[in-house]
């Protein structure tokens, strides 16, 4: 085979190979579940992200928390409102606050958390120092260690949006 053709073939193979995954030895991965809610005939299978595991940074026992990056707990009804929060348990934060039941759709091979008594929330203050990774394919949330540039390859210029 002519050397030029071989070189072209090797170059084509190299370009088509998928990039290697970025190694990330992250001790703090948390599995998340989707909250599913049916609201007046419309089913929202991705109504909210619920973390069933305890968050080690809080040092708490196992709780169910809604990831609330838009409101960080300040907009329980989904928009700025003077209406006091409904103390009823088992409700989501946000526009679907009025709806029950909230079904927790657990990832495959994950135990169901059972009846929902209380749904807390966590938001942006949790990530002031620790970058957040939301892996939708593997239903997991990663919290990178503070003040360490653990995986600089994540922030390649072509896929990063800056302020």
């Amino acid at each position: 085979m002519p050397r030029t053709l071989l070189l072209l073939l090797l170059t084509a193979c190299a370009k088509s190979a998928p990039p290697s995954p970025i190694p990330l030895d992250l001790a703090r991965w948390h599995r998340f579940s989707w909250a599913s809610v049916t609201a007046d005939g419309t089913r929202f299978d991705r109504a909210a992200i619920l973390v069933v595991d305890s968050l080690s940074s809080r040092g708490s026992s196992e709780v169910l928390l809604q990831l609330d990056l838009a409101g960080s707990g300040t907009m329980p009804f989904g928009f700025p409102s003077a209406t006091p929060p409904d103390p009823a348990r088992g409700r989501l934060h946000g526009l679907l606050h009025g709806y029950r039941p909230v079904t927790v759709v657990t990832p495959p091979n994950e135990p169901n958390p059972g009846p929902l008594d209380q749904i807390g929330s966590f938001g942006l203050p949790e990530f002031e120092l620790s970058p957040l990774l939301l892996d939708f394919a593997r239903h997991r949330i990663g919290i990178l260690p503070p003040l360490r540039n653990l995986a600089p390859a994540i922030w390649s210029p072509e896929r990063t949006t800056r302020g």
Partner: protein, 140 residues
């Protein structure tokens, strides 16, 4: 993206003259993209009265909410990453305080987690501030 100590806004490229500055949301709204009526009309090329628009009526402690939805005409992008053609809604009926135009801080919309699908990983660094969107499987 920008971060003002309580909110993350990301620029959505929609083919318009300027990007939409939307809140990055993970549960406040169940819709992929909630925006104002004015932006909705531009994004969908509709006026909101079409019979094939989707209508979502929600019971809510502050009063009933009616959202009107349709598919955006073209792809929406964050930086160089396409989120595809998203369903976009606006609030047609509801209390004034719920309307994005009346929120006490400026925002063009709310981008929900269902906009991202299962094929992506979102990384957010508030100290940057910066956000990266990676294909699934790119982080071990």
């Amino acid at each position: 993206m920008t971060y003002d100590s309580s909110r993350v806004r990301i620029p959505l490229l929609t083919g318009g003259a300027r990007p939409l500055q939307v809140l990055f949301d993970t549960g406040l709204s169940p819709f992929p993209l909630w925006t104002t009526r004015q932006h909705w009309m531009r994004l969908t090329g509709r006026d909101g009265t079409e019979p094939d628009n989707r209508r979502h009526r929600l019971r809510h402690p502050a009063g009933a909410l009616t959202f009107v939805g349709a598919r955006f005409r073209q792809e929406i992008r964050v930086g160089g990453v396409s989120l595809g053609r998203l369903d976009v809604v606006f609030l047609e009926e509801g209390p004034a305080e719920a309307r994005l135009e009346h929120w006490p801080f400026a925002v063009d919309g709310v981008l929900g987690p269902s906009a991202f699908g299962d094929g992506l990983i979102v990384a957010m660094d508030l100290r940057g501030p910066r956000m990266a969107i990676l294909p699934a499987g790119s982080v071990r």
